[in-house]
Symmetry: C2
Subunit: 381 residues, 2 copies
């Protein structure tokens, strides 16, 4: 256990009421992480079962936004919560209408969700099958794999190109009857962009009967064009959006799927129930704040540029991300570095099997990244 969580951190946690047994469990989970097939954001919930991280932990492991929700969102939440005895379906309708108008879509092309994990999961359930695989990038965001496993669909992983874009030509050729082409743009974990012309090429040239699932969870961090116009044009495209990232609402839950009504309709049957009104009103309030996106994009970009400059100065090898996380090559089993960083209370992201010596690091505040730098130098020296 000593290797995983420092003695002082252990003492801290014991003082705060965690048992030695739960600490051992935490250490085991941290260690086992890389080997688990579905070790992704939701799987971190397991880790959380042991209790909270130390209060001075640097949490740059889950692509969260340290800025949190904007003040306008917090005000909206307080109002909606006071009226929380009511379902307030009208707030969900308002959110749909507002988001549709922002994106230039008809409201019936926007389906609201509590985040984007749910529609991601449902798209895989609805559009893949034993004979229609999920085709995705490697490394890519793995959450869809769990849905594929549930319906018994094959998952075909196609390596990213050398420029870290999705290799759409190789993806299109990967299987004769694909179900879903999953493109996360910018990609998670690499934070790299797949050019618009490649996405258009795939939409045009993919085998009939398949759809392109364009996960734009991180699109707001870039200046890249979003894909909403492909949906408006009636293409076989479903787009995922979340308010968890740039909008700083990971815990509050708001998101949407954009698509033709006939495609969205296939997602409806897997679940039911009202959406959290707190997430809906916070999302609407955030959409109404002028300049929120460019200001937060700039904030993040400056910290990212600073950390990249520092990595270069210290001759570390990294992938040039345009998002709120990046991959750095630690030139040894990444999981060792994850553990040694955690022992210094700096919690970085996980390792992808395809790139075993890279670790994913989310971008926190300037202060948090200074702590990252100090710990990383120690661990890497």
């Amino acid at each position: 256990m000593d290797k995983l969580i420092s003695r002082s951190a252990q003492l801290d946690m014991l003082r705060r009421g965690f048992s030695r047994r739960s600490l051992a469990r935490a250490a085991a989970l941290l260690g086992a992480g890389a080997a688990l097939p579905f070790y992704n954001e939701p799987a971190l919930a397991q880790l959380s079962n042991i209790g909270r991280l130390p209060p001075d932990a640097v949490k740059i492991n889950a692509n969260e936004n340290p800025l949190g929700p904007c003040p306008e969102a917090l005000e909206a939440i307080a109002r909606a919560a006071r009226n929380g005895g009511r379902y307030q379906y009208e707030e969900t309708s308002d959110f749909v209408n507002l988001l549709a108008s922002v994106e230039g879509l008809k409201p019936d092309h926007v389906m609201p969700f509590a985040g984007s994990s749910d529609p991601l999961h449902r798209v895989i359930l609805a559009f893949t099958s034993k004979t229609q695989p999920l085709v995705m990038a490697d490394p890519g965001y793995e959450a869809g794999q769990r849905a594929a496993a549930f319906v018994g669909s094959q998952v075909i992983r196609v390596p990213l190109r050398k420029d870290y874009a999705h290799d759409v030509r190789a993806m299109a050729a990967a299987h004769p009857t694909p179900g879903v082409f999953y493109i996360c743009n910018p990609n998670n974990p690499t934070g790299t962009v797949t050019p618009r012309e490649d996405i258009e090429w795939l939409v045009k040239n993919k085998p009939a009967g398949s759809i392109v699932l364009l996960d734009e969870a991180y699109i707001h961090f870039t200046e890249e064009p979003a894909g909403s116009d492909l949906v408006a044009a009636g293409k076989d495209v479903i787009i995922l959006r979340t308010f968890s990232k740039l909008y700083g609402m990971a815990g509050l839950r708001a998101g949407a799927a954009f698509g033709r009504p006939d495609l969205l309709e296939k997602l409806r049957g897997f679940s039911a129930g009202a959406l959290p009104v707190t997430g809906m009103v916070a999302a609407s309030a955030s959409l109404r704040v002028k300049n929120l996106v460019p200001e937060r994009r700039k904030y993040l970009r400056e910290i990212r540029e600073d950390i990249f400059e520092w990595l270069e100065k210290n001759r570390f090898s990294y992938v040039p991300s345009v998002s709120n996380k990046f991959m750095v090559d630690v030139k040894r089993p990444g999981q060792e570095v994850v553990r040694e960083m955690a022992a210094r209370k700096v919690y970085i992201g996980r390792v992808w099997p395809a790139w075993p010596t890279h670790v994913r690091v989310s971008i926190g505040t300037r202060e948090e990244m200074e702590k990252f730098k100090a710990a990383f130098l120690e661990v890497m020296s």
Copy 2:
């Protein structure tokens, strides 16, 4: 349209920015309600698309709690929202552990959800099929029907007994290979109880391979024993709980399914994603408030007793509910009365096809029920 929404209410709505076309749509939906196969709480969302109800509307149509969340829940929401940039999975774990300890269950027998509609839907998806029907009461809560339709399962409706309990013997005999026996206790819409010994009889005598789905959304309004001990004893029972009703958290979304881990595991694959932290912390805070349940139960009971006394005095025929809603027999097509009440800005619940002359009325505040009385006398005279 005049028959559906009063002229002054129309003017009110027009002044608040609703178009004449959206008013017509609202009127059409109100009118069509009784005929729609799945006209239930979530379907009200459609209605909400036309905008908000007038500010002085009496909203006793969705079994909401006019008290809303308790102050402790609101405080917890404010704290969690400020930290809303983080997923805060640990709050969901805390909620599970706390609820499990309150119910005398192991934490692995409690699966958290954003309300109980989601697990209700998933249980039907997981445990019914084309050859294993859903068996439910008539009238009963219809939400499960939509899930059954999605998987192509038959729905068998068994009339309530004369004492308004579920007829568990007739339900058990209804089909040779049932999938799910759905028992809402107390029942929605009738607010009536199925005695514990009947539930035990069904659990013991149901055909093998089926499960009993015990929906306890309204259990806190009664003094009836809950079914948690059946789950603890390892029976083929899944229990649904929600914080939408007594706890006044309909818009905030928190709930749970209780069951053996092997049963709960079957629900997992249909969706994914973090739960709204605002709902989780509000639920935990509510569970920690001593006497919240008995105090709110008493508040509701006193208003219910008053309205029943008034109904008797005025010789109206009603079903003796022990919950936060009741059925009253209007001796003519119920939908007419729903419309005429709405024209007086008193929005009551819907009509069940099995009981076409009954309307469901949720119990609001004393002030709201006085407005109900006045409007009801007008409409019924």
